[in-house]
Structures are given as structure tokens and as C-alpha cells.
């Protein structure tokens, strides 16, 4: 689980909590992308486990205790809609992107493209 994004590694004062600065910086970098990835995956309705699995299959592992609070936060911001439903004799909470979430995702992807273009330019100059 070395690549799993886990919010607890971040410290409010910016001090590095682990022995490896690279690992911390990598986690910090991935954290920003995580919201975009979750919103992107939830263009199609999914429940927690399948969402985690889909993210992991695409190379972005995230642990349970990071994903569920994030889903809760995004829902409270109006970006997601959730619904408890029974499937395979078990209650599962299904999430999907709301209309507001779709608009925000579009904006975030545009921002992502801008950052990516800037970074490429900076790195080419170097």
C-alpha cells in the first residue's frame, strides 16, 4: 500500500512526517489530483468499493478511511448525490456526480490542462 493516498500523512504545519521527503511530496501531489479522479469516476454511478477498485485499476490507490470522508465532503458541497440501495442482499451507498459536480469537474479539467501545459513549458525551458 505504499502508493495509497492517505490524508493522515499530511501535517498542518508543513513539516515532513515521514523519513522520505519524496514520498510526502508525491502524496501531496496526488492529493490534489484525487478529487478530480473521484469526480471523473463518478460520472458513472458507483458504490465505495467499486469506486476504490476502479481508481486502483487506473493506478490511483486510495484507502477506505480517506475515500469515505472525501465522498462525504464532496456530497456536502453539492458535487455528488448518494443513495442507499440494496444490491446482492446488502445495503450499499451509491454515488454519482450531480449537475453542479459536472460543471465543477469541467472547470477542474480545464484548470488541469492549463497547469499541465504550464509545467511542460517550464520543464522544456529548463
Amino acid at each position: 500500500m505504499r502508493n495509497t493516498v492517505c490524508a493522515v500523512h499530511y501535517m498542518a504545519n508543513g513539516k515532513q512526517s515521514g523519513p522520505e521527503p519524496f514520498e510526502n511530496l508525491k502524496l501531496e501531489l496526488r492529493r490534489g489530483c484525487l478529487v478530480v479522479a473521484v469526480l471523473g469516476q463518478l460520472r458513472k454511478e458507483q458504490y465505495g468499493y467499486t469506486l476504490r477498485k476502479a481508481l486502483a485499476d487506473d493506478g490511483l490507490e486510495i484507502d477506505e478511511s480517506t475515500l469515505y470522508p472525501l465522498l462525504r465532503r464532496l456530497e456536502s458541497q453539492g458535487l455528488l448525490i448518494s443513495q442507499w440501495r440494496e444490491q446482492d442482499k446488502r445495503n450499499k451507498r451509491f454515488y454519482r456526480l450531480s449537475q453542479v459536480g459536472e460543471g465543477i469537474l469541467t472547470q477542474l479539467l480545464e484548470e488541469w490542462q492549463r497547469i499541465n501545459a504550464s509545467l511542460e513549458k517550464i520543464l522544456q525551458e529548463a
Binding site: A12, G48, Y49, T50, E64, S65, Y68, R72, R90, N91
Partner: protein, 349 residues
């Protein structure tokens, strides 16, 4: 098959979820339900992969991967704190100021000596001072924490963060200056003269007693305290020489001055205590009437009282100086690189 693997492995899952729920507030229990569903799905997926139900060890491995219940619950629940990051620097500053730079000096320089004066035993005085310091420290820290908790709970409503004016910021601190060579040289000359005077006094009592030297003699306690006073003067001379030779040691003058003041305070304290312990009827701790009859004894008594009053005043002066110098020493230690407007661009880049 071991005993553990014969038990229902899903019972382990229930125990785990129960432990997670214990650390979660009731409003967050639906997160525990989602976690439960996730873990069940993981178990199912693993069982499908292996083509058989999981044993307790395999379920245990999944739970261990998820994390210790208290840690998982901590990550699941919304972040809460008594004192938030916005006011925490102020909280730490006030706490440090109160405990280290106010209470500690008070206990060391006032409460400790008072306990020593009342008990007469160094061990008992240290013990009772540490005990009182411990209790007082906890009490002060508790009160400060409670005040800041109240501030934390109310500051968002009062919008304190928005109510500030950049013009109310303190002025720029002056860069730490090196000790003035001329002033130090004058101090050195004065101290050398004081040393010469101290060395001559035992042979020429006139230098301290004036005309009264013809009928007054130094009391026996000077045999004990003459050497420490002499050593303090020598130490002061050495300190001034170091300051002259190494003006670049910008923190040395402040810290060495503090050390000198504290040592002087200790010596004066012992002198006052020793004077207080001298027998009441023949109270002549500092000077004795060698000859001259009753009149000389009366003069000796007045001189003794005068010296004692002077020593008490000196003690008070040294104590105030010690507090001020402690503050200066701490500031010199904690002060970072001086910030001047001209250096702003360097800090920015």
C-alpha cells in the same frame, strides 16, 4: 488447522467494525456502515479469487491492511481540535511566556529562596519549590488552555481574523548591536579599581570604614564571604576582557551578565541569611566594636543595620536585573536574522 482458524472468520470483522464504531460519533456511524460494506466486498472478492471462503488469518490480513480501529476512526471522523491552527501560535507563545519566562524565574528567584529562608534546609526548599512549581504550572497551563478554547469557539463568530490593521504592527526590531568597546573598557577599568580596593581593604580598613576604622573591626562572616565577593569581581573582569577581545560574540555579554547577576544574587542571599541567623543580643554580623565603649557599640549597631538594609536593597535590585536580563537573554537567543527593509527582496526570493 489451528483453533483460531476454526472460529467464524466474519466474527472478527464484526469485532473490528464494533471497535471502529466505538471511536466514531453517532452522527458518523453511516461511515462505519460504508466501511463495513467495503470490507465485506473485499472479503468476497478475495474469496472469489481463491475459489473458497477465507479463513480467519486471511480476514485478519484484510483488516490489518485497513488499519488499527482507532486510527481508521480518526481518519473517518471530521477533524476537530480544541485550539485550531489560526490561534495556536498565539497559544504557544502565551504558554511559553507564562511558564518559562514568568513562572520559572519567580519560583527560582523568589519562591525557592523564601522556602529556603523559612525551612533552613536546601533539600526541603528544592523539594517544596518543585512541588509548588509543578502545581502552579499545571494550573496556569490549564487556565490558559481554557481561555484559548473559548477564543477558538468564539473567534469565528466574532470574525477576529478580519479585524486588524497593518498599521498596528510593532516597529521593526533593531539589529543586534555589538558591545561598545569604549563602554566596556571603562567598565573594565572600574572593575580593576574595585578589585584593587577589595584586595587592600583587609590591610587598610580605613578604605571601607573611614575614621570609624579606629574603633570598628570587620565581623567574622567576612571570612566566609570575602572570597566569593573577590571571585565575582575577578569573573566580572574576565568577562569584560572576553567582550573586548571577541566583540563578535554578540550573545556572550547578555548571557554572561545574567550568570554574573544570578551568582551575585546567590551570594547576597547567603549574606542576608547569615546575618539573620546571628544571635539577637549580640547582633554584630558585619562589624564589631573593637574599642571605644558603649558609644562604639551603638555606632557598630547602626553600621550593621545600614549594611543589612543595603544588602536587602541590593538583593531587590539584583532580582529585578535578573528578570530583565533573563528576558534580554531569551530574546537574544530566540531572535532570528534581523529583518530590515533593504533585505526584504532577499527574503522574498
Amino acid at each position: 488447522m489451528t483453533n483460531t482458524s476454526r472460529r467464524n472468520p466474519m466474527e472478527l470483522m464484526d469485532r473490528y467494525l464494533q471497535a471502529v464504531r466505538f471511536w466514531l460519533p453517532k452522527s458518523q456511524h453511516d461511515l462505519a456502515l460504508e466501511l463495513a460494506e467495503d470490507l465485506h466486498s473485499q472479503v468476497e472478492a478475495k474469496a472469489a479469487e481463491l475459489g473458497r471462503p477465507l479463513d480467519e488469518g486471511e480476514v485478519s490480513a484484510i483488516l490489518k491492511e485497513c488499519g488499527r480501529p482507532v486510527v481508521v476512526a480518526g481518519r473517518l471522523r471530521p477533524q476537530d481540535y480544541l485550539i485550531g491552527p489560526m490561534i495556536f501560535p498565539a497559544y504557544r507563545f502565551i504558554l511559553k511566556m507564562t511558564l518559562l519566562w514568568m513562572m520559572l524565574p519567580i519560583f527560582v528567584f523568589v519562591v525557592g529562596p523564601v522556602h529556603f529562608a523559612t525551612t533552613g534546609s536546601l533539600g526541603a526548599a528544592i523539594g517544596s519549590t518543585i512541588g509548588a512549581m509543578w502545581t502552579g504550572g499545571f494550573l496556569a497551563a490549564g487556565i490558559i488552555t481554557m481561555v484559548f478554547v473559548v477564543i477558538e469557539r468564539t473567534q469565528s463568530k466574532l470574525r477576529v481574523a478580519d479585524k486588524w490593521d497593518p498599521r498596528s504592527l510593532p516597529p521593526l526590531e533593531k539589529p543586534e548591536r555589538k558591545a561598545s568597546g569604549g563602554k566596556t573598557a571603562c567598565e573594565l577599568i572600574f572593575n580593576l579599581m574595585a578589585l584593587a580596593w577589595l584586595l587592600l581593604v583587609p590591610y587598610k580598613p580605613f578604605l571601607i570604614l573611614g575614621p570609624a576604622a579606629s574603633f570598628l573591626n570587620a565581623g567574622p562572616m567576612w571570612h566566609t564571604f570575602y572570597a566569593p565577593v573577590l571571585l565575582l569581581t575577578v569573573a566580572s573582569i574576565l568577562r569584560l576582557i572576553v567582550i573586548l577581545v571577541r566583540p563578535d560574540w554578540v550573545r556572550f555579554p547578555v548571557w554572561s551578565k545574567l550568570l554574573q547577576t544570578v551568582l551575585s544574587l546567590v551570594v547576597v542571599n547567603y549574606m542576608i541569611n547569615a546575618a539573620g541567623q546571628t544571635a539577637g543580643a549580640a547582633w554584630h554580623p558585619f562589624v564589631l566594636a573593637a574599642q571605644g565603649g558603649e558609644q562604639a557599640v551603638k555606632i557598630a549597631a547602626v553600621v550593621n543595620v545600614s549594611i543589612l538594609v543595603s544588602l536587602v536593597c541590593t538583593w531587590i535590585g539584583l532580582f529585578i536585573a535578573a528578570v530583565v536580563q533573563t528576558w534580554q537573554a531569551v530574546r537574544s537567543f530566540t531572535r532570528k536574522e534581523s529583518f530590515t527593509p533593504g533585505s526584504a527582496s532577499l527574503h522574498v526570493f
